[in-house]
Symmetry: C2
Subunit: 389 residues, 2 copies
């Protein structure tokens, strides 16, 4: 964070309101004292504290792990999906899936900005939130009547609240709204991948066989993207290449996705493997030029931790972006095979991440094509069995 | 891992046995194809595959998160605790708490070493396992009759199996068994802390205010240890200081522990705060010279992710060792407050970790004193409310 002196500071009471905090602590109803992300229930009232912003909701983008869980729990019928999301939002004052703990983000139009808001937003701005729905106060007023339950993108009406420390970005005028929303939802992944791969390329460590280490060396680090055909995966693959990867290996669950990824030209090798089968995954990555110096996990199903660790070279790094990752499975799995790998929790916030992700989509027709195909697939309700974020 | 070519390789069939793998895949009963750590059920039969080792169990060391969960679920009476552990081991063929996913480790005496075992162990060696119980085939034969249910250290009889890739260490002759077991159980924490703090001290990044960066600089990085009075915490505090920390801040949940930590002389500042209260924790760390360049989380209760992130400076690193850590809470919590922090999953394996931890206990009377007091407390069944690993 930028300035720790802000922790717990108050912005001063608004008319008739108790003091607030830039972290949104004043909106936490239960349990007391926790951050909004960890809270069970938030206060989503529309009146603003002085540093807050209220947004008229246009569209939610549920995160992939949450969407999958809801579809499996309800069977996926439109009425049941609508009821499931509306019930969560009504009970919790935010869209945080109680099973996965995850949320997503939203787009909308600024209705009102408090006089002390530091976000630089004005009424009428069309924005996307860059903080999770799991900590964003939210009210839905239309029962999500316009949603068929088949897409992660959920048209809806209502309002959401941004805190002083919440981040948001004005939607780019040159990209269609659903595309921009899908890109911004996973913007943390390419940004962190870029940082990790750049460091691996600059420093000592495992690299492509028979080639020198170092920035710009032809044998930069081998990078494996597990779930490279998906949204966070394709962006991360493009980011890895730009950051100096010597070889990018894209792993997908089925040959149809493999063909699309090959056609997109984002990776050096495409391999088809079930990421939940550790031995098969490690063998596939190895066969394609691995083990990897950097492995990036972008599939939204549980049970990929062991395979990711086994696919990574000694001294390498695994970045887990999937919200289906189990902390204990990763920690104990690596210990269990005596793997000296650095394992990162994929932080959704990296400075400059929104711009980096949008620029990748503008520059890389392959990434844009995969996004557009996926958005179109979602709209048709036609989703692969083992999907990516 | 040392050699990825081993993945899925077989060691050749033993007499009457199907081929095995150094990862122990041949012991996985269900579900098929996963690693032993991820399996629901293992085959703990005593006959050995050629690269395995069988150990006569003397003592289990349950990990802190698992012990706490069992005590809360059963009420803690001896008979109920024994029944809970024996049921898990009988059902799963290993001691992996189904709620926390975690295990612990064990000590025992080598009974038999297969002719192809690479571990260098011989019958009669008294050893500690350095892989988790959550992946170690185990049979308990005495109903844990010697355990009063009040200590994480569980005397018991039975056998355990080590795979070709499992790691173990011969117990040091100069340290009492229960002390060595407790130290080795958390040996990954000081080793990874040492590595992270060394890098922070060597590279650019947040450091103690008003002082230059760099190795050996008087103002090396500020390190906060959350749960510094516990086992992994006290070892990590000592490791941080040796690795070049400019200031070590120890956070403990209660004044009694604070006094003990102060007396041990391992940290520069002791602060008392509830790690589950993010604002209070961040304020306490800040008041003691923070925010931290490196924050190490060693408390075994859920809900410490937000406070750890808020206690860490921009560009800093949080290392999560607690098995009670939630992946999503950490990932979304950091994003939610726009915190640019690197978050590491504490890998229990770092090369040389056992030796490093044992040497710290030998060199630092303060660490040894805290361990001995805690082992004695556990034996008396007198445990603090918010305890550390």
């Amino acid at each position: 964070m930028g300035d720790v002196t802000e922790v717990g500071d108050v912005t001063g009471p608004g008319p008739g309101l108790a003091p607030g905090s830039p972290l949104g602590l004043h909106r936490v109803l239960e349990p007391a004292g926790v951050l909004p992300q960890a809270a069970w229930k938030l206060d989503p009232r529309p009146s603003l504290w002085p540093d807050e912003v209220r947004v008229a909701v246009e569209r939610l983008n549920l995160d992939a792990a949450s969407f999958r869980q809801l579809r499996e729990a309800t069977g996926g019928a439109a009425a049941d999906m609508r009821a499931a999301v509306c019930t969560i939002v009504a009970e919790r004052g935010k869209m945080q899936n109680p099973v996965t703990g995850s949320g997503g983000m939203l787009t909308g139009v600024v209705e009102e900005a408090g006089p002390e808001s530091p976000l630089g937003l004005a009424p009428g701005d069309r924005i996307a939130t860059l903080v999770s729905l799991s900590l964003t106060p939210l009210v839905i007023t239309d029962g999500l009547a316009g949603w068929d339950g088949r897409s992660e993108q959920v048209p809806g009406r209502g309002h959401a609240i941004l805190f002083g420390r919440s981040i948001a970005t004005v939607l780019p005028p040159d990209l269609p709204g659903p595309l921009a929303l899908a890109v911004l939802d996973v913007a943390g992944a390419p940004a962190l991948t870029s940082r990790v791969v750049s460091r691996a390329a600059a420093g000592p460590g495992p690299s492509a066989p028979g080639t020198p280490d170092g920035p710009g060396a032809p044998g930069g680090p081998v990078v494996a993207i597990i779930g490279a055909g998906g949204k966070s995966g394709s962006l991360s693959a493009a980011a890895a290449r730009e950051a100096g990867a010597g070889r990018v290996i894209g792993v997908v669950p089925a040959e149809a996705e493999g063909a699309a990824l090959r056609a997109a030209g984002l990776v050096d090798e495409v391999v088809v493997a079930d990421a939940r089968d550790p031995v098969a995954l490690a063998a596939a990555v190895r066969g394609a030029g691995g083990p990897a110096a950097v492995t990036v996990v972008c599939v939204d199903v549980p049970g990929c931790e062991g395979g990711a660790v086994l696919s990574t070279a000694d001294g390498g790094t695994v970045v887990f972006f999937s919200m289906a990752t189990s902390f204990t499975a990763a920690a104990l799995g690596a210990e269990g095979v005596a793997a000296d790998v650095t394992m990162l929790i994929g932080n959704g916030y990296v400075p400059g991440h929104a711009q980096l992700a949008l620029d990748l989509v503008r520059r890389e027709p392959g990434v844009r094509g995969l996004f557009e195909a996926r958005i179109s697939e979602e709209t048709r309700g036609n989703r692969p069995g083992l999907e990516e974020k």
